[in-house]
């Protein structure tokens, strides 16, 4: 079962490992990222950053889509994590049951618009977010679970 998809440029860090995993009751953190899937050092560091007692898997976006559409992942309470809106949109579109997207951390860069203290987006990000909403997903902004949930549509 997919509990939530989070977008976080830092992928796994303190907020993700301790606040979100607990609050979702997740038993598997699934990092979906092409670079991580092909980079053993990054993968290892992320695996170690995941809390104890929780399964950690990292795959490329293509692999993840086919896994999530199969039945091998069914027995887990999955916490999916991506680091960009394009990957998030692909998952929302191509995987059944990705219907809750949490925007966690996106840094301010050149050409970004600040939506919340932890979320800054480009025009392309806004298009991708609109795409997720059009697919029927709830897209909300929160750094930690106890923050007030702000619906992305109201900010873009």
């Amino acid at each position: 079962m997919i509990k939530m998809l989070r977008l976080d440029e830092r992928l796994i860090h303190g907020q993700v490992a301790f606040a979100w995993t607990n609050s979702l009751g997740a038993d598997c953190i699934f990092v979906i990222n092409d670079d991580v899937a092909g980079n053993k050092l990054r993968m290892t560091s992320l695996k170690l950053a995941a809390p104890g007692g929780v399964k950690f898997v990292a795959k490329s976006v293509d692999e993840a889509i086919s896994l999530l559409n199969g039945n091998k992942t069914d027995k887990y309470k999955l916490f999916l994590i991506v680091d960009n809106t394009a990957d998030a949109l692909r998952l929302v579109k191509e995987v059944k049951n990705v219907n809750h997207v949490n925007l966690g951390n996106m840094k301010v860069k050149e050409g970004t618009k600040v939506l919340t203290p932890s979320i800054a987006v480009t025009e392309a990000d806004i298009e991708n977010i609109r795409g997720m909403i059009a697919e029927g997903a709830e897209v909300e902004c929160r750094a930690v679970p106890t923050d007030k949930k702000i619906i992305a549509e109201s900010l873009i």
């Binding site: 607990n22 053993k40 290892t44 104890g52 106890t146």
Partner: protein, 148 residues
């Protein structure tokens, strides 16, 4: 303490100087703004009296309340002032405060069961949080990747 009786646990982070305040701020960044803990920055005002301060915290406890003190270092005056009260069974003092310990204590504060056990578990987890990252990463790189 009677087993089975639901105790209210209060958590106090007590340190020499502003470490308590700082680690409290870090905790809120990670777990969210509202956290169930009190902060004691000892010796940050001239007329600070540690013994008197500890007494105030302990005497302020209600009938069903227990106090867990997370202090910076064993043998320091901050921890010592609270260990005076452990005989009554309502005060628990944990020393060697670090962030994994504080996260562990906060996350298990409402757990059922004896407070002593809950603290022991948090300490075990916190000890594992102290590691030489280079070594751990190198060792883990050798392992098989996890898969579904």
């Amino acid at each position: 303490m009677l087993r089975g009786v639901k105790q209210m646990r209060k958590l106090l982070v007590a340190t020499h100087g502003r470490f308590a305040e700082g680690i409290g701020e870090t905790l809120r960044l990670i777990l969210g703004d509202s956290q169930p803990l009190e902060i004691l920055n000892a010796y940050t005002v001239l007329d600070f009296d540690m013994a008197k301060t500890a007494k105030e915290y302990v005497s302020g406890l209600g009938e069903d309340e227990e106090l867990i003190v997370a202090a910076d270092i064993f043998g320091g005056s901050v921890a010592n002032a609270f260990t005076e009260y452990i005989a009554e069974g309502k005060v628990h003092v944990v020393t060697g405060l670090n962030l994994p310990l504080l996260i562990g204590l906060v996350s298990s504060l409402d757990e059922e069961g004896p407070t002593g056990e809950m603290i022991q578990n948090a300490i075990e987890d916190a000890k594992e949080g102290i590691m030489y990252a280079n070594q751990v990463i190198n060792e883990t790189m050798e392992e098989e990747e996890e898969d579904f």
